[in-house]
C-alpha cells in the first residue's frame, strides 16, 4: 500500500502541470457543491419548526402577513381568563418587517418578562433592554448585519442601541426585539397588537386548550388558534420553492462533479498508455496496475476536494454568511461535518469509478499495443 501511494504521489508530482489543471477544475466544482449544500441546509433550517412546545398562537384568520393582523383587547382578556388553571402565560405580540439601513429585518415586541420563560430566548451577551433606546438582537441577525453590542439601528425614525444579543429556537426568531410598551410608544396609534402567544399550564391538556380557545366567542369568529410549530411550518412554506431551486442547483453541481471527476481521471490515464505498457512489461499484474491508477485518482480527488472545501469555508467566513436573507430572516451558511463527509465520499467514489472504468481498456489491451500509443 505504501509503495502504491509512493508511486502515485511521484506520478502526480512528475506531471504537475496537468495535475494542477485537473485539481483546479475539480476543486472549483467541489467549492460550488459545498456552497450549494450550505445554502440548501440553510433553507432547510429556515423551514424547520421551532420544536414541539406548549405554546399556542392566536392570530387573525386568513391573513398571510402577520404585521397586518390585529388582535383586539377582548380576545386577550378571553385568553387571560384561562389563567392559572389551563394557561401559564398570555403574551401580546407585535410583529413588523422594518427597513434597518438597506436591509429588511423582522421586529418583534412582547413583554420583557415573557422573553425567557415563553419565547425561550437565551441571553448570550450584554443585558436585556432597560433604557428606552435599547433593543435586543438575535445572534443570527447580528451576524448577518454585522451588528455587535452598542451598534446603532434606526427603526421607524428613532435610533436604538443593541444592548443584548440572544439565541432563540427557530429562524423566525432571527429578529430585533424590543419590550412591548416601547414598541407601542414608538408606533403610537398604529402600534396595534398583532397576535398573542398562549403558554399552556403544566397540568393542562394543550389539545383541549386549543379547542376551547378556538370555540371561545371572543376568538372563534375572527381568529385562528395554532400550535406554535404548525404556524411556523405554515409560514415557512413560502421558501420551499427556493429550496427546490437550491436542490436542483446542487444536483447540477453534483453531476458536474461526476463528469469532472471522470474526465480528469480518464484523461490522465489514457495519456499514460505507454507508461502502463512499460509497467506491464516489467511484470506488474493487471490488478496492481489498476490499483496504482485508482490510488493516483483518489489522491488527485482528495487534493481537489481539500482545496475546494477550504475555498468554500474561506468564502463563507469572509462573507459572514449573511449575504442572503428571506423575508427579513438572514440565512446563515455553514458546512456541516455530515455535508463535508458526504462530499468527500462522492468525490472519492466518482474518482475511483472514473479510474476503474477508464482503465478497463488499458488493462485489456496487449503490452505491444500500449507501447505503440
Amino acid at each position: 500500500m505504501k509503495t502504491l501511494l509512493l508511486y502515485a504521489w511521484k506520478d502526480i508530482r512528475h506531471d504537475w502541470a496537468r495535475t494542477l489543471l485537473s485539481i483546479t477544475g475539480l476543486a472549483v466544482l467541489v467549492f460550488s457543491y459545498h456552497l450549494l449544500g450550505a445554502m440548501s441546509a440553510s433553507f432547510s433550517n429556515f423551514a424547520r419548526d421551532p420544536g414541539v412546545n406548549r405554546n399556542l398562537i392566536v392570530i387573525e384568520a386568513d391573513l398571510i402577513d402577520p404585521s397586518e393582523a390585529v388582535l383586539e383587547p377582548d380576545a386577550l382578556a378571553a385568553a387571560r381568563a384561562y389563567i392559572p388553571a389551563q394557561v401559564a402565560r398570555v403574551s401580546p405580540h407585535i410583529f413588523r418587517q422594518v427597513r434597518a439601513g438597506e436591509r429588511i429585518v423582522q421586529l418583534r415586541a412582547a413583554p420583557l418578562s415573557d422573553w425567557e420563560p415563553l419565547y425561550r430566548m437565551q441571553l448570550l451577551q450584554g443585558g436585556w433592554p432597560e433604557q428606552p433606546h435599547e433593543i435586543a438582537c438575535a445572534e443570527t441577525a447580528a451576524r448577518a448585519n454585522g451588528w455587535t453590542l452598542g451598534s446603532r439601528v434606526r427603526i421607524y425614525g428613532s435610533d436604538f442601541s443593541i444592548s443584548a444579543i440572544f439565541r432563540a429556537q427557530g429562524s423566525l426568531f432571527a429578529a430585533l426585539w424590543m419590550p412591548l410598551e416601547r414598541a407601542q410608544t414608538l408606533y403610537g396609534a398604529s402600534g396595534r397588537i398583532q397576535a398573542m402567544y398562549v403558554q399552556a399550564a403544566e397540568s393542562a391538556d394543550i389539545e383541549q386548550l386549543r379547542a376551547s380557545l378556538q370555540a371561545n366567542p371572543a376568538i372563534a369568529s375572527r381568529y385562528t388558534v395554532f400550535y406554535e410549530d404548525s404556524y411556523t411550518l405554515r409560514n415557512n412554506q413560502i421558501i420551499k420553492d427556493v429550496d427546490l431551486l437550491g436542490g436542483i442547483a446542487k444536483v447540477l453541481a453534483l453531476l458536474a462533479i461526476t463528469f469532472g471527476a471522470y474526465n480528469a481521471t480518464s484523461l490522465s490515464l489514457v495519456e499514460r498508455a505507454r507508461e502502463i505498457g512499460c509497467l506491464r512489461a516489467l511484470g506488474f499484474s493487471n490488478t496492481v496496475t489498476r490499483l496504482l491508477l485508482l490510488t493516483r485518482s483518489l489522491l488527485q480527488g482528495l487534493l481537489a476536494y481539500s482545496l475546494g472545501l477550504v475555498l468554500a469555508l474561506v468564502y463563507i467566513a469572509a462573507s459572514a454568511g449573511g449575504q442572503v436573507s428571506v423575508y427579513g430572516v438572514p440565512l446563515i451558511f455553514s458546512v456541516s461535518p455530515a455535508q463535508a463527509l458526504s462530499g468527500l465520499l462522492w468525490v472519492a467514489a466518482l474518482a475511483a469509478a472514473g479510474a476503474w472504468i477508464s482503465s478497463r481498456r488499458l488493462v485489456g489491451a496487449s503490452v505491444a499495443d500500449l507501447l505503440r500509443e
Binding site: 496537468r18 489543471l21 485537473s22 477544475g25 475539480l26 472549483v28 466544482l29 467549492f31 460550488s32 456552497l35 450549494l36 445554502m39 384568520a61 386568513d62 391573513l63 398571510i64 402577513d65 404585521s67 397586518e68 390585529v70 413588523r96 418587517q97 422594518v98 427597513r99 429588511i104 421607524y156 425614525g157 408606533y187 403610537g188 396609534a189 398604529s190 375572527r222 385562528t224 405554515r234 409560514n235 412554506q237 413560502i238 420551499k240 420553492d241 427556493v242 427546490l244 431551486l245 436542483i248 442547483a249 447540477l252 453541481a253 453531476l255 458536474a256 463528469f259 469532472g260 471522470y262 474526465n263 480528469a264 480518464s266 484523461l267 449575504q323 442572503v324 436573507s325 428571506v326 423575508y327
Partner: protein, 364 residues
C-alpha cells in the same frame, strides 16, 4: 485555416464519447447560468417597475405596495392641504389561510384607478363607479390559477366576489385581485383606514420626505424594487456558483483539448511541416473548443427550458417563472464564447511553443 478547423471538428467527432461528456459539463454550467439569469430577469420584470408620475405615501419602513402599511383616511386631507393636488387611496394586503392559497388583494378607488395603473382588459369589463358591490377584477395569472372567467365567483377571505373582468399588466399585479376600496376595507375590517395614498410627483412632496407620525414618501414602485433587491444576495451567490461551474467547464475543456492535441500530435506535426502556421493550429483548437461549447450551449438551453417549465418560485400570492428571453439566451451565448476562448487559450499556447517536428522525429 478552414481546413484545419474542419480537421479539428473531425477529431472531436472521432472521440465522440469524450466530446459528449465535455459538452454535458459545459451544458451544466450554462444551464445553471441560464436558470439564474432567467429567474433574476423574471423577478425584476415582475417587481421593478418605477413610476415617474406618482409618489406613494406609506407607513415608514413598511412594504406598503404589497402589505404591512395602514394609514388613517384623514391623512388625505393633510396631504392635500400641504400641497398635493390629489391623494388617491389604495389598500394592499395578502389574504389567505396558507401561502399556497394566498391572494394579493388591492382595494382601488373606482373613480381614479384607471389613471394610476396601466392595464389591459383581457376579458370582461373593468370595474367602474357604480359597479355592484363584491365585484372583482382578477389579474390574468390569478384568473388562470383560479380558472375564473368573467361571471365566475371567487372566494376572497371567505367572501364570494363576482369576477367582472380579467386584466393584464405584465407585472406582479397580474397575480392580484382588485376590488373596490370600500369592499377591501370591509373585508379586512379596517373601517376607513387604507394602506397607502398615491400623490402626483413633481409637486410639493419628494421621494424620501418624512411626515410626522412615521409616514414616508417613496416613488410608486420603489417597494417592488426593494423587494426584488432583497433577493440580490441569493442571486449573487447563485451567480458566483454559475461562474465557478463556468470556470470548471473551461478548465475541463482545456484538459480535453490538450489531450486531443496530444493524441493528434503526429498529424499536427505533419501539417506544421507542410507550412500551416501557429494561427492555423490555434484555429484548429478554437474550432474544437467552439464545437464542444456549441453542443454544450444547445444542451444547456434544452436543460434550462425543461427546468424552467418544471419549476417556479412561489412566494405569498405570486408565482414567478423563469424568463428565458432572447437577452438571457444571448448572455449565455456570450458565456459559452468565453468558455470557448478560455478553454482554447492554454492549449494554443502550449501547441505554439511545442516543436512538433522535433517531437515527430523523437516519436518515430
Amino acid at each position: 485555416m478552414l481546413t484545419l478547423a474542419s480537421l479539428g471538428l473531425r477529431a472531436i467527432w472521432i472521440h465522440w464519447r469524450m466530446t459528449v461528456l465535455m459538452a454535458l459539463t459545459v451544458a451544466l454550467s450554462l444551464a445553471a447560468f441560464l436558470m439564474m439569469r432567467a429567474y433574476h430577469t423574471a423577478l425584476h420584470r415582475h417587481y421593478a417597475q418605477l413610476s415617474a408620475a406618482y409618489l406613494m405615501v406609506e407607513q415608514s419602513g413598511s412594504m406598503g405596495e404589497f402589505m404591512g402599511s395602514r394609514l388613517p383616511a384623514s391623512l388625505a386631507a393633510q396631504l392635500t392641504s400641504a400641497g398635493a393636488s390629489r391623494a388617491i387611496p389604495e389598500i394592499h394586503s395578502v389574504v389567505g389561510s396558507t401561502p399556497e392559497n394566498a391572494i394579493l388583494l388591492r382595494g382601488i378607488s373606482l373613480e381614479e384607478y384607471g389613471e394610476t395603473e396601466q392595464f389591459q382588459i383581457v376579458a370582461g369589463q373593468p370595474l367602474r363607479p357604480g359597479s355592484p358591490p363584491r365585484s372583482a377584477m382578477l389579474g390574468v395569472r390569478l384568473a388562470e390559477k383560479k380558472q375564473a372567467l368573467p361571471g365566475a365567483t371567487v372566494q376572497i377571505r371567505g367572501r364570494d366576489f363576482q369576477v367582472a373582468g380579467v386584466f393584464s399588466t405584465g407585472t406582479y399585479a397580474d397575480h392580484e385581485a382588485w376590488v373596490a376600496l370600500y369592499d377591501a376595507q370591509a373585508l379586512l375590517g379596517w373601517g376607513s383606514d387604507v394602506s397607502v395614498f398615491l400623490i402626483p410627483s413633481g409637486e410639493v412632496f419628494k421621494p424620501g420626505d418624512e411626515l410626522p407620525g412615521g409616514i414616508s414618501i417613496v416613488r410608486k414602485g420603489q417597494n417592488g424594487v426593494n423587494l426584488a433587491n432583497e433577493w440580490n444576495g441569493l442571486f449573487n451567490l447563485l451567480g458566483l456558483i454559475a461562474s465557478s461551474l463556468g470556470v470548471a467547464a473551461a478548465v475541463a475543456l482545456t484538459n480535453i483539448l490538450l489531450r486531443l492535441a496530444w493524441l493528434h500530435r503526429r498529424e499536427l506535426a505533419i501539417l506544421q511541416s507542410l507550412g500551416f502556421g501557429r494561427r492555423a493550429l490555434a484555429g484548429y483548437l478554437l474550432a474544437q473548443s467552439a464545437g464542444i461549447s456549441l453542443a454544450g450551449y444547445l444542451a444547456g438551453v434544452a436543460l434550462a427550458l425543461i427546468l424552467g417549465q418544471a419549476t417556479h418560485l412561489q412566494t405569498a400570492g405570486i408565482s414567478v417563472r423563469a424568463d428565458l428571453s432572447w437577452q438571457v439566451l444571448a448572455a449565455s451565448l456570450l458565456v459559452a464564447a468565453l468558455i470557448t476562448l478560455a478553454g482554447a487559450a492554454l492549449p494554443a499556447l502550449w501547441l505554439s511553443r511545442l516543436n512538433l517536428a522535433a517531437l515527430l522525429r523523437a516519436d518515430s
